[in-house]
């Protein structure tokens, strides 16, 4: 029990007594006290209610308006409720929970207040009847009702008495918050009005019955026709309710007379309601895009909810909770789409709602086939979301018939009839994936209201702190004056020492000087302390502000996962498998940008897991696993990284199958494939176009999956790892940075300006003695561990002015990709630092070698290099430019490795060929098509070309023709390695100028090495 509850109890008892005397000024006072107590307790609903009640009581006290019995009843009920609250043991826990009951009371009280003070509504005045009581009916004084069952009459009177408040408060709520907010109430009101109409009919009051029917229809119209709820309609409804309220108070014997006297007025009312324009048909205003945008946001949430709910439902068809939440979602969609008048969709949502509602009574209709229909409906909504805002109406219009058909199907299955899936499967043309045109408008992000509040708070605090500086500045001005005083004293002192012999004068001045200095010193140290404190405060504040902003970039993992259960379910169903998707770590926060990029790769991984990983129920049971497979998708923070795991309990990797496929695809010859170890075999899984599934299905098998994952992970600077247990499933773990907005980078100076190299992408940063740099044929190299690394001036690659600085230790950054290592010479290393990434002005277009910008602590700009791009530029630069870094005399002639150019459009082949040739000590460059190869050959210095025939842009034949015509290149030895092994192909290749023609199928390490060696020897 809270201590305040005692006070509450005492006051509620007091109130109870006061109510019997109807002493309103006293009642108001007691209510004020209750209100205060509620405030102290922090119990808002009670506070608001008692406050409203107090105002009502006060107005009663002032106006001395006639008092109706109901009002007292309400007051008594409220008092009882307050008393109950005062005695509630668990109240402490309920303080923050909205109290529906109290809120309802508040609405009622508000309506009473409104009625007691209402004047604006145009009134059709009805004579106020004399009071009578139910007792009179019971006493047999039935009057008009003599011939009718008194029980029915009593029931009518009682119902009207009970419902009049519902009607009044309902209409009031609609008026206040609009139909959509209060759609539940509208339903209730339709029922109530209809009930009263029926009862009136039974007790032979046809006019009243008609009136209430009209009222019910009006409510119905509110529900169905958007925008039909006008102020005028509301006013008329209020008058109808008042009329029925009056009737209740007319003595039964007078009722016929009363109705007769007022017939014309009632008829007038009915006419008003019935005639009022149902809907303004003239010039349907285009719903503006703001509304559509809101609709889209709402639909996104509800569609995700529906999807998940439906899948839940499929697993637990009897779960009433799921059903009722599904009902709620479809209902919200109905409301939302009605606002923008998308009638076909409204009907569709309505049908869905009906289905869920009948499913509550008859769970038999929840079958997989039926759920398919509902999921189809969800797909329609999904397409609606992805349609361009401006085209939504047109789209709906176009698909109207399809949607109607689907709506009908759902209506049929709701009645428990079955429809075969597929039989009436409605297909919607897939929207063409048109990349959104680049919009000039900035993109809009959703930020939590709380976070925005915190930001406001922090910003406000910053402002307050910054104001502290002004007085501080003023105090410094004062300090300066004191300082000036010292100089004056020193002047006077030196003057005194020179001119006068009076030592006491000098002494006096020294004394004054000392005092002044102490004053100054004190004031300086005081200020120093203040400044220190300020520094502490402001830096904490700035840190918090920064963190809050960074947090705003983070979104929960759940943002992207909502579509997965549906996708997995569909895929599994199509493969006739049973798969359960477990999602763990929905609340793990992830940078928005990473989250966006994650969706597609995860889609692929999950799909792969369903298609390749999990077996059919039979297969699974054969190996003693439960028929239903489980895929676990987990996101968590591990050691400052985001770790995403996709794990299945399926078959794992079938290495034999992969090996076979490698050979089938002629990626490597069989003997090599046999010797590949498991890790190497897995590498192939990441290649584009590699897939072990037998045929291309819509689901999977295009083999792009793992490659897409790999690319995405690389792009954000993370790693992907596969772990597996044969027969017991496969786990893919992605380790990604938590945010893309901050990176750790090495700051260096190039050409006198700062540049940042992302730490995750540099291999080494070294200071190399100049003597270790060797120059061979105008190329500079140095030996690092086992590698000979070509070196370039960073300023050269970036096309900046180079600074001629003699340094004994040369700062070099080593960067690499799978194929090459390069060393880049910079002016100076500065330090490692965290940088907040800032996109470069889009107006600049793509800036070569630069990925983003940032600002350093001192405010000066710094550019962050794009390592991938830089690797390519360095390779080109080294070929194009002859680097003269070392003086000729230092040059030492050593045997230079033979340079071979490998041209092939398959990275796998390139990889294999490079591996073989590099093992032999050759230096390899690569090209992916004929054009690139020719370009490299012309600028570079190669001893041999290894080329494929089938290549994009310029094929091997064309390439060889060009080479043989080139003055410089015509005698270059060429080896062709090709799939084409028909004799004709071979002849054509040799004719075009190939020295040796190898087919990929007969390709072996030995034959290749031998061919290369032969040709190079010949050349020498």
């Amino acid at each position: 029990m809270l201590p305040e509850q005692k006070a509450l109890l005492a006051f509620s008892k007091l109130l109870r007594n006061q109510l019997s005397t109807l002493d309103f000024p006293l009642i108001a006072e007691t209510l004020k006290k209750i209100c205060d107590v509620a405030e102290i307790m922090g119990y808002t609903p009670l506070k608001e209610l008692s406050d409203s009640l107090r105002l009502f009581a006060a107005s009663q006290a002032d106006n001395q308006t006639p008092f109706i019995k109901d009002q007292v009843t309400v007051l008594v009920q409220i008092t009882d409720e307050i008393q109950a609250i005062a005695q509630d043991e668990q109240l402490r826990d309920k303080l923050n929970i909205p109290n529906e009951k109290l809120n309802n009371f508040k609405v009622i009280v508000d309506s009473l207040r409104k009625k007691s003070g209402k004047t604006e509504i145009p009134q059709i005045n009805l004579p106020f009847p004399d009071h009578f009581t139910l007792e009179e009916i019971k006493k047999g004084d039935g009057g008009f009702f003599e011939l009718i069952d008194p029980l029915m009459v009593e029931e009518f009177y009682q119902t009207v008495g009970e419902k009049i408040l519902v009607l009044n408060s309902g209409i009031l709520a609609i008026e206040k918050r609009g139909v959509d907010e209060e759609i539940h109430r509208v339903r209730e009101l339709i029922d109530v009005a209809q009930t009263i109409a029926n009862m009136a009919e039974r007790i032979n009051l046809p006019l009243l019955s008609l009136m209430m029917k009209t009222v019910a229809e009006k409510f119905q119209e509110f529900e169905e026709v958007q925008g039909s709820c006008s102020q005028e309609a509301i006013d008329h409804l209020f008058q109808c309710i008042d009329t029925i309220d009056f009737v209740r108070q007319v003595k039964p014997r007078d009722i016929e007379r009363w109705i007769g006297e007022n017939r014309s007025k009632i008829e007038e009312l009915i006419n008003y309601l019935a005639v009022e324009p149902k809907k303004k048909e003239v010039e349907e205003p285009k719903p503006d895009t703001t509304m559509l945008n809101l609709l889209r946001i709402e639909l996104e949430t509800q569609v995700a909810n529906l999807n998940n709910g439906l899948i839940d439902l499929e697993h637990n068809p009897d779960n009433v909770e799921v059903l009722s939440s599904l009902m709620r979602y479809s209902h919200s969609i109905k409301g939302a789409t009605r606002v923008v008048q998308l009638d076909p969709i409204v009907k569709l949502a309505h049908a869905m709602e009906d289905f869920f509602s009948s499913a509550q009574n008859n769970s038999n209709i929840v079958t997989e086939a039926n759920i398919d229909f509902l999921l189809q409906a969800v797909d329609v909504l999904n397409q609606l979301i992805s349609t361009d805002l401006a085209d939504i109406n047109a789209w709906v219009e176009k698909e109207k018939n399809q949607i109607a058909q689907l709506t009908q199907s759902i209506q049929v299955i709701s009645r428990g009839l079955s429809l075969k899936t597929g039989q009436k499967r409605v297909s919607f043309p897939k929207k063409k994936e048109i990349p959104e045109p680049p919009k000039a408008q900035e993109r809009i992000l959703r930020v939590g209201a709380q976070s925005l509040n915190r930001l406001m708070g922090l910003a406000g605090e910053t402002l307050v702190h910054s104001r502290w500086l002004q007085p501080f500045l003023d105090s410094f001005v004062k300090l300066k004056k004191e300082q000036v005083e010292i100089s004056t004293l020193v002047d006077r002192l030196s003057h005194a020492i020179q001119s006068s012999d009076d030592p006491s004068k000098a002494k006096e001045l020294v004394k004054a000087l000392e005092n002044q200095m102490i004053l100054c010193r004190d004031s300086i140290s005081r200020r120093l302390i203040e400044l220190e404190l300020f520094n502490l405060r402001i830096s904490t504040l700035a840190e918090r502000l920064y963190q809050e902003v960074i947090n705003n970039r983070m979104r929960p993992f759940s943002d992207i996962v909502e579509s997965f259960p549906r996708m997995v379910r569909d895929a599994a169903r199509r493969m006739n498998k049973k798969v359960k998707l477990e999602i763990i770590g929905r609340n793990t926060t992830v940078d928005r940008d990473i989250l966006e990029k994650l969706e597609t790769p995860l889609n692929h991984l999950l799909r792969n897991a369903v298609v390749h990983g999990i077996g059919t129920p039979k297969e699974r049971m054969d190996v003693g696993k439960p028929p239903e497979g489980t895929i676990r998708l987990e996101a968590k923070h591990v050691g400052g990284m985001l770790s995403i795991t996709v794990a299945d309990d399926g078959k794992g990797i079938n290495f034999e199958k992969v090996r076979k496929k490698i050979v089938e695809d002629k990626l490597v010859p069989e003997e090599i494939a046999k010797n590949l170890n498991d890790t190497e075999v897995m590498e192939f899984l990441f290649l584009p176009g590699f897939s072990t599934s037998k045929d291309l299905t819509e689901l999977s098998g295009r083999g792009l999956g793992l490659n897409i994952v790999q690319n995405m992970v690389k792009e954000v600077g993370g790693t992907a790892r596969i772990t597996y247990t044969t027969g017991r499933g496969m786990t893919i773990t992605l380790n990604l940075p938590l945010t893309l907005s901050v990176i750790r980078a090495l700051l260096v100076i190039i050409s006198g300006e700062p540049y940042a190299f992302p730490l995750s992408r540099i291999d080494r940063a070294l200071l190399i003695p100049k003597s270790e740099l060797k120059s061979i044929d105008n190329q500079v190299y140095f030996q690092f561990e086992e590698n000979t690394i070509p070196v370039a001036m960073a300023s050269g690659v970036l096309e900046l002015k180079s600074k001629e600085e003699e340094q004994d230790l040369v700062p070099i950054i080593i960067i690499s990709n799978e194929l090459n290592n390069y060393g880049l010479i910079v002016d100076k290393f500065i330090e490692e630092r965290e940088l907040v990434i800032q996109e470069l002005e889009p107006k600049l277009g793509k800036v070569a070698n630069i990925i983003a910008g940032s600002v350093m602590d001192d405010g000066s700009p710094v550019l962050i290099v794009d390592i991938e791009n830089l690797l390519k530029s360095t390779a080109l630069f080294l070929k194009e430019k002859v680097e003269v870094l070392l003086k000729p005399k230092e040059k030492k002639k050593i045997d230079k490795p033979k340079q071979i150019l490998v041209a092939d459009d398959s990275p796998t082949i390139i990889g294999i060929e490079c591996r073989i040739l590099e093992a032999e000590g050759y230096k390899i460059e690569t090209a992916v098509n004929g054009i690139e190869a020719l370009k490299l050959l012309r600028i570079g210095n190669y001893d041999l070309l290894v080329t494929d025939i089938d290549m994009p842009k310029m094929n091997g034949i064309e390439l060889m023709n060009a080479i043989r015509k080139d003055i410089k290149l015509h005698s270059l030895p060429i080896i062709v390695v090709s799939f084409k092994n028909e004799p004709d192909d071979k002849a054509m290749g040799l004719e075009a100028g190939a020295d040796i023609y190898l087919t990929k199928s007969s390709f072996t390490d030995e034959s290749f090495v031998k061919a290369v060696a032969t040709l190079l020897k010949k050349e020498r």
Partner: protein, 155 residues
């Protein structure tokens, strides 16, 4: 009421006056964001365009710094600039180093005399007219045209 005097009419034009090389220019202050003290300009690698000086930090955002000298084909003799003017249109902001700042001055429309018909120099193509301030001849820049042409040069 009648005693209340009408406030003096606002001057029609408020112009920022500055010098590039040895010519004086004026630009409407509505196109002006601010004038800032000199600060580091970071060169952009692999971008040889002369007009593009680099990136400058304006309140934590890196903005493009361009040479009005190049745009207006004026000789750029004095390398170090003490002040930069920041001009903008819609969302594009440009930072332009200037040689000297005179400040903001107010003019009436009729103080503008039309530019010479035979505008020979490129810089004159960007002028709306000429204004006399003391003994200085000031070219009144067409801010819209200037900004548009900057926008275009990075299309």
């Amino acid at each position: 009421m009648s005693e209340e005097q009408n406030p003096p009419p606002l001057p029609e034009l408020s112009l920022l006056i500055f010098r590039l090389a040895d010519e004086w220019f004026a630009i409407d202050t509505y196109a002006l964001n601010e004038v800032i003290e000199k600060r580091p300009i970071h060169t952009i690698p692999n971008r040889p365009e002369k007009i593009l000086l680099g990136l400058v930090n304006i309140r934590g955002q890196l903005k493009i710094c361009v040479s009005l000298h190049i745009l207006l084909e004026l000789p750029d003799l004095q390398q170090e600039k003490e002040k930069y003017v920041v001009i903008s249109k819609d969302n594009s902001i440009w930072v332009c180093p200037i040689d000297e700042l005179l400040g903001i001055h107010y003019f009436e429309t009729d103080q503008i005399s039309p530019k010479h018909e035979a505008a020979s120099k490129t810089s004159e193509a960007y002028l709306k007219g000429v204004i006399q301030l003391g003994d200085r001849n000031i070219g009144y820049l067409d801010a819209g045209m200037l900004l548009e042409s900057l926008d275009r040069s990075f299309g």
